[in-house]
C-alpha cells in the first residue's frame, strides 16, 4: 500500500514505514537511545529528502521516548532530578551546537562534518563500551559466581564540590559533571541532528557512575525535551516536518518501544551494553566506509538554497 507524503513529496510503502518505526522504536525501548542516529539514514535510504528525514525523525523519537519513559516510570527507573540537570546543560550545549552547524553549512561542508562526527563519536563510544562490557561479561563468567556488587563505580567525579543527592540513581555527587555531560551531549546533538542518547547512555554509566537500569529511563526522559525542541524549531524554520510520515513512524515506533522495554527487562546490564556497543559500532563502520570507498556515483544533486 503506497502513501504520498505531502511535505516530502514522495510516495512510499506504508508497511515499510511502520517497519522502520517499529525497529527503531524497539531499539529505543531496549537501550534508552532515541534512535535518531538510525532513523535518519534509514529514511534517506528509502528516498526521503535529508532535511525532512532529520526533522521528522526527531518527531518520531519524541513519541517512542515518551512510550519508553512511561514503561520505565512504572519501575521507578527514571531519575527526574538527574534528567533536569542534564537538560539544563543540554539546552546550553545544543544552542552552541546549532551555531556551529550553521557556520559549517555556510562553508558548504556540513555533510562531511556530520559524517566525521558520527564516525568519530560513534566509533569511540562504541569501542569503549564494547571492551568494557565484554570484559565484565568475561569476568562474570570466569568467576562463575556473582561478581562484586557495587551500586556504582567511584571516580574522580565524586570529589567535586556542589554535591546533590540523586536518590533514584543512588548517587551523591557534584552537580557539575551532569551539567557538563548534558552540555557536551546537547552540543553534539545540535551538530549531528540527533537526540544524543547513544552518547548520553555511556556517559551516564561511565562518567557519572549511574546504574544501567536507571540510565535508560533517565536518558529517554532527557531526549524527549531535546527532540521535542528540535521538532518545533525545524517546523518553524524550514517547514520540514512531514506529519503524515511522522504518524506512520510513530505508530510503528511506540509499539516497538513497548516491546523493546519488555525485552530489555529480561537482559542483564552487561548484555544490554554490549549489544548497544555493537549497534553503535556498526553504524560508525558503515559511515566510515561511505567516506573511504569510492562512491558509485561521484555526483550529487541538491536544490539550490538561496542565502
Amino acid at each position: 500500500m503506497q502513501l504520498y507524503l505531502p511535505i516530502a513529496e514522495v510516495s512510499v510503502n506504508v508497511f515499510l514505514l511502520l517497519g522502520i518505526g517499529g525497529v527503531v522504536g524497539f531499539l529505543s525501548g531496549l537501550f534508552g537511545v532515541g534512535g535518531g542516529f538510525l532513523i535518519t539514514p534509514l529514511l534517506l535510504f528509502i528516498g526521503v529528502p535529508p532535511g525532512i528525514a532529520v526533522a521528522t525523525g526527531a518527531n518520531q523519537v519524541v513519541a517512542s521516548s515518551i512510550s519508553g519513559v512511561l514503561a520505565q516510570l512504572k519501575r521507578k527507573a527514571v531519575d527526574f532530578r538527574m534528567g533536569f540537570v542534564l537538560m539544563a546543560g543540554g539546552l546550553l550545549g545544543s544552542w552552541s551546537g546549532v551555531s556551529v552547524f550553521a557556520w559549517m553549512t555556510q562553508l558548504g561542508q556540513v555533510d562531511l562534518f556530520v559524517q566525521l562526527s558520527y564516525v568519530l563519536f560513534l566509533g569511540l563510544i562504541g569501542a569503549m563500551m564494547f571492551f568494557e562490557s565484554a570484559r565484565s561479561l568475561l569476568r562474570a563468567r570466569r568467576a562463575g559466581s556473582v561478581p562484586v556488587r557495587r551500586s556504582h563505580v567511584h571516580t574522580w567525579v565524586h570529589g567535586l564540590p556542589l554535591k546533590i543527592k540523586f536518590r533514584a540513581s543512588g548517587l551523591y555527587i557534584s552537580v557539575l559533571p551532569p551539567l557538563a555531560v548534558g552540555a557536551l551531549v546537547g552540543f553534539l546533538a545540535g551538530i549531528m541532528g540527533v537526540g544524543g542518547g547513544f552518547i548520553l547512555v555511556p556517559a551516564m554509566i561511565y562518567v557519572l557512575g549511574m546504574p544501567t537500569k536507571v540510565v535508560i529511563g533517565t536518558s529517554l526522559f532527557q531526549i524527549i525535551f531535546v527532540t521535542g525542541f528540535t521538532t518545533v524549531v525545524h517546523a518553524v524554520n524550514s517547514h520540514t516536518v512531514d506529519m503524515m510520515l511522522a504518524l506512520l513512524l510513530i505508530l510503528g515506533g511506540v509499539i516497538g518501544a513497548q516491546i523493546g522495554t519488555q525485552v530489555g527487562l529480561r537482559l542483564k546490564g552487561e548484555q544490554l551494553r554490549i549489544l548497544l556497543a555493537l549497534l553503535v559500532l556498526a553504524v560508525a563502520v558503515k559511515i566510515a566506509f561511505d567516506l573511504l570507498l569510492r562512491p558509485a556515483e561521484l555526483y550529487s544533486i541538491a536544490p539550490l538554497v538561496l542565502p
Binding site: 513529496e9 513519541a63 512511561l70 518545533v232 516536518v241 512531514d242 506529519m243 509499539i255 562512491p295
Partner: protein
C-alpha cells in the same frame, strides 16, 4: 490549366502550415491524494491536412512532457586526505523536475540539430545552464551527471519509437507520471516534423495539484508553522502515551 497552377502555388508556399496537429489529453488535471501512486496520461491526436499526403520524407511526431523547473546545485566528490569529499560544484539555473520525450522514430533521424536547439526538445537542451562554465572547467560533465542520475530515478525519460502513428494521421502515446511527483504545471508539447524540420507544434498544460489532506497539511506547515510544529509534537505525545496505556491494558 491556369486554375491548377494557382492552386499549386498556394500549396507550395505555405506547405508547412498545410499539415496541423489536432491534439487532446485524457486528463488535464492530476490530483495528488494520499493514495496517489503515479498516473498515466494518454496523449492522442490527429494530423489535419488540406491537401493529399505529400511525397518525400514521412511525417513524424514528437511529444514532450515537462515538469516545473527548479534551480539546482550539482556537486562532485573528490578524494582528499583519503576520504571522499564534495569538491567542485556547478549551479544549474533551471532543470525540469520531470522530463519525458516520446517519438515515432529515433530522434536524430527526425529532428535536425538546429530545430532541436530552437525548440529545446532533447534533454540537454531542455536543461538550461546559463553561465555555469565559470564555476567548473568541465561543466558538461555535471549536466551529463544530472541527466544520468535523474534517468536512473525515472524522472527523465527518452522513449524513442513509443508513439503509435497510424496512416500518418492518427497518433497516441501514454505518458506515465511517477509517484514522486512535484506540484505545478506540466507542459505537454507536440511537434510534427518532416525531414528534420518542425512543421507544426501544439502546447497543452496538465495541472498537478495536491488535494484533500495533502493540501491541508502542506498549507498548514507553510502558513502556520508554529501551530503545525506543536501539533506534530502533540501527536507524538498522545501516541507515546496511548501505546504505553494500551500495552498496560493488554498485560492485565
Amino acid at each position: 490549366m491556369r486554375w491548377w497552377a494557382v492552386l499549386l502555388l498556394l500549396c507550395a508556399g505555405p506547405l508547412a502550415a498545410s499539415e496541423t496537429i489536432v491534439a487532446g489529453l485524457s486528463q488535464n488535471r492530476v490530483a495528488i491524494t494520499a493514495q496517489y501512486d503515479g498516473s498515466e496520461i494518454l496523449v492522442y491526436g490527429a494530423v489535419r491536412r488540406d491537401a493529399p499526403l505529400p511525397k518525400g520524407h514521412p511525417l513524424e511526431v514528437i511529444v514532450t512532457v515537462e515538469g516545473p523547473a527548479t534551480p539546482l546545485v550539482i556537486r562532485r566528490k573528490e578524494r582528499t586526505a583519503g576520504i571522499w569529499v564534495n569538491a567542485a560544484a556547478v549551479t544549474i539555473d533551471a532543470a525540469p523536475s520531470f522530463y519525458a520525450v516520446a517519438t515515432t522514430a529515433p530522434l536524430e533521424d527526425i529532428l535536425s540539430a538546429t530545430e532541436d536547439l530552437r525548440h529545446r526538445i532533447t534533454l540537454s537542451n531542455a536543461i538550461r545552464a546559463i553561465g555555469i562554465s565559470a564555476e567548473a572547467a568541465d561543466s558538461p560533465e555535471f549536466v551529463a551527471a544530472l541527466e544520468r542520475i535523474r534517468m536512473a530515478e525515472d524522472r527523465y525519460r527518452m522513449s524513442e519509437g513509443s508513439i503509435s502513428f497510424v496512416e500518418q494521421t492518427l497518433f497516441r502515446t501514454d505518458v506515465v507520471l511517477p509517484s514522486n511527483l512535484t506540484e505545478g504545471d506540466y507542459r505537454v508539447r507536440l511537434f510534427l516534423t518532416r525531414g528534420g524540420k518542425v512543421i507544426d507544434k501544439q502546447e497543452r498544460v496538465i495541472n498537478v495539484r495536491k488535494t484533500g489532506i495533502e493540501r491541508f497539511l502542506y498549507n498548514t506547515a507553510h502558513d502556520e508553522p508554529l501551530a503545525y510544529g506543536l501539533a506534530s509534537l502533540l501527536l507524538a505525545v498522545v501516541a507515546g502515551w496511548a501505546a504505553s496505556a494500551g500495552f498496560r491494558l493488554l498485560r492485565r
